[in-house]
């Protein structure tokens, strides 16, 4: 296999993984994650480096997203007084910023997958596997 083809093998799976990550955040929370989990359990061990990297990144980022968005927001409401407007201001701004940042990371991940390149999510991403194309 030519080197460039070798590097972009698994691009379809990588794009699907990033799309499911975004679907989970934007359209169908939970359902998107279950589909991603199914894909990850089937593919992550045997997939080419590009697909394995995107599967592992999106899986890890989805788990973090779940923690950052649901329990953390709940905790702010629980620890603060949920009848206080100040607490609502904090929780809404926190949720919006967090959610937007996670979606933005997914958009960048999708752009990388479309270009056949690996991408490590900032802070919440796992180290990239060997053999990943990190051009750009």
């Amino acid at each position: 296999m030519p080197r460039s083809a070798e590097l972009t093998a698994g691009a379809g799976l990588a794009i699907t993984a990033e799309s499911l990550y975004l679907i989970n955040l934007l359209l169908a929370p939970g359902i998107g994650f279950l589909a991603l989990l199914w894909l990850w359990t089937r593919g992550h061990a045997l997939a080419p480096p590009l697909a394995a990297a995107h599967l592992s990144q999106t899986m890890s980022a989805s788990l973090w997203a779940g923690i950052l968005l649901v329990p953390a927001s709940g905790l702010i409401l629980l620890l603060g007084d949920h009848r206080s407007p100040g607490v609502w201001a904090v929780v809404i701004v926190y949720f919006t910023v967090c959610h937007a940042a996670l979606v933005l990371c997914g958009a960048l991940g999708l752009a990388k997958a479309l270009a056949g390149q690996c991408w490590r999510f900032p802070l919440v991403g796992r180290p990239l596997p060997a053999g990943c194309n990190t051009r750009g």
């Binding site: 910023v97 933005l104 990388k112 060997a130 750009g136």
Partner: protein, 469 residues
């Protein structure tokens, strides 16, 4: 510069930057008036400062769009501009008319200005963003027609590309929709209804076409990716922008006396409005990831990527936040709207004009492709200062807006407007500080034009082979 006539873009860009500075200064005055109510009163009352702040924004963006078109169209059409002389003449007419209008706002009471300019003959004044005297509006139409004629003839006589046609459709839409500024029915519901045809269908309709075309042009030039690939993305993005944006106008019709079905149409279609902006982000980053060369103008690439991200956040995310009818019932016209307005205008339109200026100005000033490294570093500092401060302005206004909505509208024991304004004053102070940082960023931006002028420009490099690791 490939075509001599592209040089007409330069005065448009300079005027745009000058008016941008004016807009920000008035923004700072306004921000202070939120917390020190009589600041500069009676010389510059709040309503006048607001009018100047918003009108300057519109006018300088129009200068930016026109300059961008005058630079972009000859290169796309592969021929000189139809009439560079007409472009320069229109520049001076627009600049003088704009300056006189702003002076009128500042020096004459608004009602007096209406009387002086013969508003009673064809009343069009007194509406937000369309405060210009009727005679100025007529001037805008004349300038727009001459501009469209000039650009249109250039496109028609030359090579027709997707980029130039999308730009032309966007500019044509801009001019045609402005005609609704002359329709001023007595019925207030009707007045508001058609007023949005100018305001909404500009910023969430045809301006997105202009944005998409300019972004595509800069990405073609800086990444070396095949035009066909970029054009396909552009088609899909503008289709989504129009599909969602046109019916999405309904999110302005919730509470103005329009039929109830707009609650549904407005909510559904405007909830989809983030889509084109999301696609724009994926598009811009995908093209840069697939680039065939490292363009020496790194600042322009940074502005282009920044446009996509900030437009998605400001127009997409912050727009979605309050677009559904049941949410908008509480948030309508609150500081949440101001937060959205600030980030959306900055992300989508300020940044795309600055992207084009960043790409074109070095060439217009006689360089091959880019400014020196020093100049670019200063410019990139300005990018981060302005962008980060705009993020903070948005966050502070969002916090203020949530508190405002809760205390004034949601609470079982709602407080009066002015009492709430006092309670959220801290957020306004923080917004003002962020605004000052924005001004520092803008000064840095202007400074970038005056540093490193004698230093050589960096060279373009080919992209290395994909690296594994």
């Amino acid at each position: 510069m490939q075509y001599k006539s592209q040089a007409v873009a330069k005065p448009y860009f300079i005027a745009a930057i000058g008016l941008f500075i004016g807009q920000i200064l008035f923004g700072l005055i306004l921000g202070l008036q939120y917390v020190v109510g009589d600041f500069m009163f009676p010389e510059i009352p709040f309503n006048v400062a607001r009018m100047v702040h918003t009108n300057l924004l519109i006018v300088w963006l129009l200068f930016g769009f026109m300059g961008s078109a005058y630079y972009l169209v000859p290169e796309e059409a592969e021929r000189e501009l139809h009439s560079p002389g007409l472009a320069i003449l229109m520049f001076w007419i627009f600049l003088v008319a704009g300056a006189l209008t702003v002076l009128g706002y500042l020096l004459v009471p608004y009602s007096g200005l209406a009387q002086m300019t013969g508003n009673h003959l064809l009343p069009t004044m007194g509406r937000e963003f369309l405060e210009q005297p009727t005679i100025t509006k007529v001037g805008i139409v004349i300038v727009a027609l001459a501009f469209l004629y000039n650009v249109g003839m250039t496109v028609l006589k030359g090579r027709k590309t997707v980029v130039s046609l999308v730009l032309l459709i966007g500019l044509l839409g801009l001019a045609l929709l402005f005609l609704f500024a002359f329709y001023n029915p007595d019925n207030l519901a009707k007045d508001k209804y058609y007023w949005w045809w100018v305001v909404h269908l500009w910023v969430e309709g045809v301006w997105e076409l202009i944005l998409g075309a300019i972004l595509a042009f800069v990405l073609i030039k800086t990444t070396g990716v095949d035009r066909e690939v970029i054009e396909k993305w552009l088609y899909v993005i503008i289709a989504m922008a129009l599909i969602t944006g046109i019916v999405g106008t309904g999110h302005h019709f919730y509470w103005i006396g329009a039929p109830e079905y707009w609650q549904w149409w407005g909510s559904i279609f405007s909830a989809l409005e983030p889509l084109p902006f999301f696609m724009m982000t994926v598009f811009a980053f995908n093209m840069v990831n697939r680039r065939r060369r490292n363009h020496p103008n790194k600042a322009a690439v940074l502005w282009a990527l920044g446009t996509a991200v900030m437009a998605f956040l400001g127009a997409g995310v912050w727009g979605f936040m309050h677009t559904l009818s049941p949410v908008n019932y509480y948030t309508h016209g609150s500081q949440i709207t101001a937060a959205h307005g600030h980030m959306a205008f900055y992300g989508a339109y300020v940044m795309i004009v600055l992207t084009m200026i960043s790409y074109a100005m070095p060439i217009l000033r006689g360089r091959q492709a880019a400014n020196s490294n020093l100049s670019q570093v200063v410019e990139m500092w300005s990018f981060w200062l302005m962008t980060v401060s705009m993020v903070f302005i948005t966050l502070f206004l969002t916090g203020a807006g949530i508190l405002q909505v809760y205390m004034q509208r949601y609470s079982t024991d709602p407080l009066p407007f002015m009492v709430v304004q006092e309670k959220i004053a801290l957020f306004y102070w923080m917004r003002e500080v962020a605004g000052l940082v924005f001004l520092i960023g803008l000064i840095t931006y202007v400074a970038s034009f005056f540093v490193g002028g004698r230093q050589p420009e960096p060279k373009a490099t080919a992209m290395p082979e994909p690296a594994a690791g």
